[in-house]
Amino acid sequence: MYLELPKKLKVLGDMATNLSVEMLRPISRKYDLAEHEYPKELDLVASMLDGMNDGEGGAGVGADQSKQKKDENAGVRNGANMAACVGIQGFCWGDVGLLLTLPRQGLGNAAIGAVANAEQSKRFQGKWAAMAITEPGTGSDSANISTTAKQDGDYYVLNGEKIYVTAGSRADIIVVWATLDKSIGRAAIKSFAVERGTPGMEVTRLEHKLGIKASDTAAISFTDCRVHKSNLLGNPEIDTKKGFGGVMQTFDNTRPLVAAMAVGVAKAALDRTKELLQEHTLLDYSAPINSVSSAAAEIYRMEADWEAARLLTLQAAWMADNGKPNSMEASMAKAKAGRSCNAITLKCVELCAGLGYGEDELLEKWCRDSKILDIFEGTQQIQQLIVARRLLNLSSAELK
């Protein structure tokens, strides 16, 4: 038993932090103010990461690193899932909005990595893929989507409206969830890779948001949009026994990554707050928490919650790396990291007072950015449902 990172992951984390300092922090405020403007500086960052990923065998920062990689070495592995978490944490210590709009590292890439066949993986390699699930009338209840896919010869015809598509106006491919037959329910939901420029797919709107403004969030409509059947990801048959598993399994891999984003943002706020409060709080990890100043006690509690979120995230990723089912642990990590990150960034602004609330510092930005991390990829409440159902051994019909 040992809960420290191996040297190669520490090095990776340091690299990501350095990249944050040199390339992300300097443009962080600029793209927070210039919402909807593509951060062109990221092209350079993305090619650097491509190079690192090719060279390091998966030690990257992007979401597409989440896929299981077979390792021939026996024994315990600290593999691609953990590396992705460490890299993402370091990157989001710089700027989570910029991570979310990093070319070729979208959540759609994670979906492709999880369920695409060999031919598709090859064909979509090097493409930037976004993920389109949410609809105006369907949020957390994603089994209830109404975008339809009707087979017509070698093609599927998509109709419907998707919202909250991260990188939807910038990605090369949109991975769309659509139902083959709504009356069948979950089992009929399939995902389709739709390439940009496909007739019938149109970006209709970009959202104005509370935070992560560097990342574009698009509404996309599908009107008789014809997609070749070779772009259906996973099994085209409707298997009611297997149900939702196919599309939902993506989340077991991506939730720890979103948790890692939260861990990175929270660390940014905590580090800066400790720096600003240096003269006012002595943190020696010795005096009892009830004998130190109120501000110091707040920092200790935040740091403890932050470490807890970080360890839960690493646990979920470690389980994935070692082939252990991690659905509950992934949700635990996402729940703890999401709420802790939000609470920490908000408290840091409070502690830093006028300095924290103003735009001279990034603290106020981080507490706007953090809110989405407790919402997307499954809200706090959805994670709790998943954990509770697992612990109580209840079905979704019993615990609604």
Binding site: M1, Y2, L3, E4, V76, P288, E307, L314, K336, V387
Partner: protein, 435 residues
């Protein structure tokens, strides 16, 4: 077992107090006054009569145990096969022996001699005493100690403390004791009449800080004089040896004090919980001990000592919190309200989810700090943060455990009220254990 005047007095008085005869004769005010007087005067009594300690084997150099050989340094949540076997037997003992005895031991404020004998059969002391002194310990693994503490507390925290108290003293002696100290005391932990011992750190005042002790040791020509008072000392009337934290020249150190030493007096003082540990107060009035009563040499590390105790209490919290979760789940699935199990309601189910999430977090934080300690790496920050989260979340889990059972949880029909009282100790305790 007649060396328990306070317990005897209490038992007698509580029998009188509950007797209906008392009511009929209108004696209650008199008896309550008597009880008040008795408590006020503190039942001062001598500690357990201590044996004559003999050094059968005289070590020339202190025995020190190395950490188990470690696989390469990477993130690894697995435990060894030996640790798993140990866990299985301790968990079975906790479930089959400790849990059924928890309620009565709580009332008695005692680990019964029968239970102690059964606990000794686990052979835990052998893993604390090095081979050269008759034990079986070839390595020192705080991780294993952490797992044992968690599993014992799954049965009952108070009994776990009663069992682990002596082993904590043995662990400290093995880690820091001089050759003379080890030779004198360690073999006695393995005798048939096991040496019982306790670590005394806490003092009775608000905002107690283990780094600022009011108990003072003054160096004299032939040894030290100790003055002060300790509280929440486990096995108070059974321990023959106390490891007492006192300030020496402004720095906290530990002193080995035998219970029969002149000036030592004890008082049973049950707390709201962890009662089976038989805690109480230890008074030191002009207690004179020899030069060799000071634990360890220059290598002694008080901060590590305090942190190992903190992590010990975190480990206990894991076991008790797991007991709460495992008890609440079937209860909430079976308890019907408004026509369906209460677990079908999100407000109930989310409390269960959060117990699971925070307990997992507590466990990872504790494991991380203990694993660092085992490898001899700095672990002060990690131990501190583990204590912060365990102190907060263990109590939250304790109070939610009672809440989930509602009025039923408030009664002694269910163990959750005991766990609630036990879990309050996590934020309060210092010392008492040493992993």
């Amino acid at each position: 077992m007649s060396r328990d005047p306070i317990g005897l007095a209490m038992a007698t008085m509580s029998r009188i107090a509950s007797s209906s005869l008392v009511e009929r004769m209108g004696l209650r005010p008199t008896i309550e006054k008597l009880t008040y007087q008795g408590t006020k005067s503190g039942f001062q009594a001598l500690g357990a009569a201590s044996r004559q300690f003999k050094s059968v084997t005289q070590l020339l150099r202190p025995e020190r145990l190395e950490a188990p050989s470690q696989p390469k340094s990477q993130f690894d949540l697995t435990i060894s096969e030996e640790q798993q076997m140990m866990r299985d037997s301790v968990r079975a003992f906790a479930t089959e022996v400790l849990r059924p005895a928890a309620s009565q031991s709580d009332v008695d404020c005692n680990l019964s001699p029968e239970l102690l004998a059964q606990a000794n059969e686990l052979g835990l002391a052998y893993f604390a005493v090095p081979e050269n002194l008759g034990g079986a310990a070839t390595e020192r693994s705080p991780v294993t100690s952490m797992l044992i503490a968690e599993d014992l507390a799954y049965g009952d925290m108070g009994l776990a403390v009663a069992i682990l108290s002596s082993i904590g003293v043995a662990n400290a002696l093995t880690q820091w004791g001089t050759a003379a100290q080890q030779s004198r005391y360690l073999p006695a932990f393995l005798e048939e009449n096991t040496l019982q011992a306790a670590i005394a750190v806490n003092e009775k005042r608000p905002l107690f800080n283990a780094n600022e002790l009011a108990t003072v040791a003054v160096e004299q020509a032939d040894g030290y004089q100790l003055d002060g008072a300790k509280t929440m000392v486990p096995l108070i009337d059974k321990a023959e040896l106390f490891l007492v934290a006192a300030s020496l020249n402004g720095k906290p150190r530990l002193f080995l004090v035998e219970s029969g030493t002149e000036g030592v007096s004890i008082a049973r003082k049950p707390n709201m919980g962890v009662r089976a540990a038989g805690m109480g107060d230890l008074a030191l009035a002009q207690v004179r001990v020899g030069k060799d009563a000071l634990l360890g040499d220059d290598d002694f590390d008080y901060e590590a000592f305090i942190n190992m105790a903190r992590l010990g209490w975190c480990s206990l919290a894991l076991g008790t919190a797991q007991a709460v979760l495992d008890y609440a789940i079937p209860y909430c699935n079976e308890r019907i309200a408004f026509g369906e199990p209460i677990s079908h309601r999100q407000s109930v189910a989310f409390m269960i989810a959060n117990i699971g999430i925070e307990l997992n977090a507590m466990r990872l934080m504790t494991q991380r700090a203990v694993a660092l300690a085992e490898r001899g790496k700095p672990f002060a920050r990690e131990a501190y943060l583990a204590r912060v989260i365990c102190a907060d979340k263990a109590m939250e889990i304790g109070t939610n455990g009672v809440q989930l059972l509602g009025g039923h949880g408030f009664t002694k029909e269910h163990p959750v009220e005991l766990w609630y009282r036990d879990l309050r100790a996590i934020a309060v305790m210092n010392g008492g254990l040493h992993l």
